[in-house]
């Protein structure tokens, strides 16, 4: 089919915008190889000392480990809640489905800073009753992250439920399958990719979460983004450049890999 392709002007402008998008990511690379202790562009020698910091310095290792644990806990919890919720909406189509969906998506649409203050209130209130799930603890942060990421899990699982043939579930019900059988044996196998995708997406969101984390942590539950935030606010630590390069390389590899697979499949 004939398509009108964008002309020269549009293409030239888009190249500029594309450069604008990639520029800050590329700029991080030279900075990460500086031999100096402060943010600078290396002039005569390159050094890997800031990469060494990442795996030798206790602080960074603990930050990475903290973020990993919080990510797995909150992504698992949020995905489980969201999966049951979405299946419930899909199976029973309750009367106020729109309203219930709205409540489930609330933390996604509310301004991050309002959610941050709300969760700060939540955790310092919990702190009055216990010291385990509280302000500045790992479980407290995991719980707060769960709130922030659960809407994204609901969206992803609901999207994959929309592809499932409802008659399959009706057939199972007609043959007397219990609710548990219908959920776990009939519906789940059909949406497992959506559930897995939602676990990974919510993990990434928790791994990167910073707005809420700033409000609910101080010295104990220091996640990787919190560590980067401190480094950016006080005096700029080039180790941030090194960790940034590592993260950029991972993301770029995944995105380029996905694009390559799609391109090959399309052929």
């Amino acid at each position: 089919m004939i398509r009108l392709r964008p002309g020269l002007v549009a293409t030239a402008l888009a190249v500029l915008v594309g450069l604008f998008m990639l520029m800050p990511l590329l700029a991080v690379v030279p900075v990460s190889f500086t031999p100096k202790r402060f943010l600078s562009i290396p002039t005569d020698e390159l050094s890997l000392r800031h990469y060494r910091t990442l795996y030798q310095d206790r602080e960074w290792l603990e930050g990475i480990w903290m973020s990993l644990r919080i990510g797995v806990l909150s992504a698992g919890f949020a995905t489980a809640l969201a999966t049951f919720f979405s299946i419930g909406i899909w199976m029973f189509r309750p009367r106020f489905a729109g309203l219930l969906m709205g409540i489930a998506l609330l933390p996604m649409v509310a301004p991050p800073v309002v959610s941050a203050l709300t969760l700060y209130f939540f955790l310092i209130t919990l702190t009055k009753f216990n010291g385990v799930v509280a302000y500045d603890t790992m479980l407290g942060v995991a719980l707060a992250h769960s709130v922030m990421i659960v809407p994204f899990a609901v969206v992803l699982v609901s999207v994959s439920l929309a592809q499932v043939d409802r008659r399959m579930d009706l057939a199972a019900r007609a043959m007397g399958a219990s609710l548990g059988t219908r959920v776990f044996k009939v519906i789940m196998p059909n949406i497992k990719f959506g559930v897995i995708a939602s676990f990974f997406l919510t993990f990434v969101l928790s791994w990167e979460e910073i707005a809420v984390t700033i409000f609910i942590t101080s010295v104990e539950a220091v996640t990787l983004p919190r560590l980067m935030w401190q480094g950016l606010r006080d005096n700029i630590d080039p180790a941030i450049a090194a960790i940034s390069v590592v993260l950029i390389v991972i993301v770029a590899a995944v995105v380029v890999g996905r694009a390559a697979v799609t391109a090959v499949r399309a052929r």
Binding site: G18, P30, F84, V113, V114, V150, I210, F215, I248, V255
Partner: protein, 273 residues
């Protein structure tokens, strides 16, 4: 009885969790706003009359409006290539959108620091080219905040714009072409009007996101051009005034809800016209 409780088994855990961890605490924040330091509505009256806070509201509105316009225009150009380019161009454009999108806001803000700071790459290049003699001041001011926010918002502008562009019927464009309209004319008089709803949706989405956002402004503004979200942070952690912070949050929430209602109206299919 059984028919009522069955859906509840599946729906209740998430709803109970959000009620307990989000809705109730937000009611608590509203409680703070009318009880700290003493019961009454004085926090709201000072938030809406104090010239300092009003200037922060005005700055937030101004910066978000500028960011919205720039992001939507730049996003439109990218979406155009992403939707209508040749397959290779489409893939390349997709990389320019998705790689930054998946990278953490901190890393992206740090990249801008490395580019725009006093001894950063940009000043180095401009000096080497002889364009400037003294380093330009590009961070710790509104310029840095706007650049960083535009970079963050462009993907959010692209997604609704690209969706709108995919819905444009190719045959309409070809019909215009068949009637000898120039390419420029097709673009401005056929294509742009057909994606107008997407433009409005993208603009509202970016504006709503920009208002509640504080990481990039805090890093690239360096505490100098404080916006509403950062003001809330400062009023909790640096010069505590919890009641005022809570009141500003509630005002922000109300404003955003109003805008989102508008957005939903914009996105919902219109009746027969």
């Amino acid at each position: 009885m059984i028919r009522i409780t069955r859906p509840l088994i599946l729906l209740a855990p998430l709803l109970a969790f959000l009620a307990f961890a989000y809705v109730l605490p937000f009611a608590g924040v509203i409680g703070w706003s009318v009880s700290i330091p003493e019961p009454g509505l004085q926090n709201y009256s000072s938030a809406l009359t104090d010239p300092l806070i009003l200037s922060v509201f005005w700055r937030t509105f101004r910066i978000c409006a500028i960011v919205t316009v720039i992001s939507v225009v730049m996003g439109y150009i990218l979406s155009l290539l992403w939707v209508r380019g040749t397959p290779l161009v489409r893939t390349l454009t997709e990389l320019c959108i998705l790689i930054p999108f998946w990278i953490s806001v901190l890393t992206r803000a740090f990249g801008w620091l490395a580019l725009l700071s006093h001894r950063g790459l940009m000043n180095g290049w401009l000096e080497a080219l002889g364009v400037i003699d003294d380093p330009l001041r590009m961070i710790r001011n509104e310029f840095g905040v706007i650049v960083g926010m535009v970079h963050f918002m462009i993907p959010f502008a692209v997604f609704p714009l690209a969706a709108a562009m995919r819905n444009v019927d190719e045959r309409v464009l070809l019909a215009a072409r068949g009637m000898a309209a120039s390419r420029t004319r097709i673009f401005w008089q056929v294509f742009v009007p057909m994606t107008a709803a997407g433009l409005m949706g993208a603009a509202l989405l970016v504006f709503v996101f920009a208002i509640g956002f504080f990481i990039t402004p805090a890093i690239l503004g360096g505490g100098r051009s404080v916006m509403v979200a950062e003001l809330i942070y400062l009023r909790i952690f640096q010069s505590p005034d919890w009641g005022l912070a809570a009141a500003i949050s509630v005002i922000l929430m109300v404003a955003i809800s109003a805008l989102l209602t508008l957005l939903l109206k914009q996105l919902s299919p219109k009746g027969a016209e």
